[in-house]
């Protein structure tokens, strides 16, 4: 049975084909910026964009050397600068999220696989460095049953000291196609969401499943639309 949200797939494809990589990067940047948690690294897109940037840099250099029309050169330079900003900002937001939630991401396999090779290297360094620092200045001086960096004491939950993103944050979003049956609360089976394992369970749906009309803005809790964001069906603003 085809759900309404699947009907858009050919349109999706065409829309995607008509988008330049820079437009795709802009959309990835916006998503990453607006989402509270780290999203999948767009490795193929980033690779393509970087190649295009390099080509453009060479072209601009050639133009400059050959004394090509300075107006045109400055316009290409602007185009290049805009793309460079998007690329840098995209990588930067990700690093900042990694810095902020390093222990959580590092300990959560699903999140760790979202990182690029270099980000994985970085997060490992981050965790080691911060852990060393905290152990040296605080933990090593505490009684041994209170020395864990992740839990308050040996009798507490395993990760009650680990900073995690607030997946309950409200985000602003829009869909291109009708999306029905969005469950606003956690599923009864407590679908893993990468946040704390102990806040599912007793929660029940607060209201009827909710639907999203195309091209209308909504304020929604990120958790409710997380899946659609990951599938690229919802744009965050």
């Amino acid at each position: 049975m085809a759900s309404a949200s699947d009907l858009g797939s050919t349109d999706d494809y065409e829309a995607l084909m008509s988008m330049t990589d820079v437009e795709l990067l802009k959309s990835a940047w916006r998503q990453e910026k607006a989402a509270p948690e780290i999203l999948q690294f767009e490795s193929r897109l980033i690779k393509r964009v970087r190649e295009q940037i390099q080509l453009m840099e060479e072209t601009v250099e050639e133009f400059t050397e050959s004394g090509f029309d300075p107006l045109t050169v400055s316009l290409y330079q602007m185009d290049l600068d805009r793309t460079q900003f998007l690329l840098r900002s995209y990588l930067r937001i990700r690093l900042q999220k990694i810095e902020k939630y390093m222990f959580h991401i590092f300990a959560t396999a699903e999140l760790l696989t979202r990182l690029s090779k270099e980000e994985k290297w970085f997060i490992e360094r981050c965790c080691v460095d911060l852990q060393t620092h905290l152990e040296k200045s605080v933990l090593s001086q505490l009684p041994y049953t209170y020395q864990s960096i992740f839990q308050q004491s040996v009798i507490n939950d395993e990760t009650d000291m680990v900073a995690k993103p607030q997946l309950d944050t409200f985000v602003v979003c829009k869909t291109k196609y009708y999306l029905g049956h969005i469950q606003l609360e956690d599923n009864a089976d407590g679908e893993p969401d990468g946040s704390s394992p102990y806040d599912s369970g007793s929660q029940k749906p607060l209201e009827e499943p909710f639907e999203m009309e195309p091209n209308v803005l909504y304020f929604v809790r990120y958790k409710a639309v997380k899946k659609f964001v990951e599938e690229g069906k919802i744009d965050l603003y």
């Binding site: 805009r82 040296k136 200045s137």
Partner: protein, 199 residues
């Protein structure tokens, strides 16, 4: 004195501080809280010993000594949380500092750090630098969206002849105006030595 009041001073210091600004490391309060933790633990253990000596089951007995233990335990945990929150938040400020000032900490900030914090700052800025060299991209520039590659600026501080990152040199006399590459001017603007002219 009430338990935990020292520790809360540390948290208040963070909460009341200006956002992103470091206060001098409160080493005295910090060591006092650490000492308090050891005391709680010693008290907790002596209460356990007392129960054991009286032949009571430590797991199930709910007498005053049991609750005494819990109070020591909770006070200890609370102190730990405060100590950690203090260090953790300061570490976060330090990481943001790496983004803003790079690997050289200004002297006046240097003085506010504990030994371990200085070490951490160094380590983290190395990690970030190393990431950037792995991706072959400098990330500490282009912090805000670009406008035009060329901007009009006015020099606020006399700097004389200056070599720019783009290999040009320029004479930055006070109040002089220049049409510069944005990347060349960014550093001076953030240092307050130049201002961008719009319109």
């Amino acid at each position: 004195m009430m338990y935990g009041t020292k520790a809360i001073q540390l948290v208040k210091e963070i909460a009341n501080g200006e956002k992103g600004q470091l206060t001098p490391f409160s080493s005295d309060v910090f060591s006092e809280v650490i000492a308090e933790c050891s005391q709680h633990f010693a008290d907790l253990r002596s209460l356990i010993r007392k129960m054991q000596e009286a032949g009571l089951d430590v797991e199930t007995t709910k007498d005053e000594d049991h609750y005494g233990q819990l109070i020591h335990h909770l006070s200890l945990v609370r102190n730990k949380r405060c100590l950690m929150a203090y260090m953790y938040n300061r570490a976060e400020i330090l990481r943001n500092l790496v983004w803003n000032v790079g690997s050289d900490i200004p002297e006046e900030i240097q003085e506010k750090l504990s030994h371990s914090e200085k070490e951490y700052f160094k380590k983290h800025s190395e990690a970030l630098k190393s990431y950037m060299s792995r991706v072959v991209l400098e990330l500490a520039v282009d912090m805000v969206p670009p406008k035009d590659p060329y901007i009009k600026v006015r020099v606020l501080d006399d700097m004389g002849e200056v070599e720019l990152p783009s290999d040009n040199t320029a004479n930055f006399a006070r109040h002089s105006m220049h049409f510069l590459k944005r990347t060349d001017a960014e550093k001076y603007i953030s240092l307050g030595k130049m201002e961008e002219l719009t319109g």
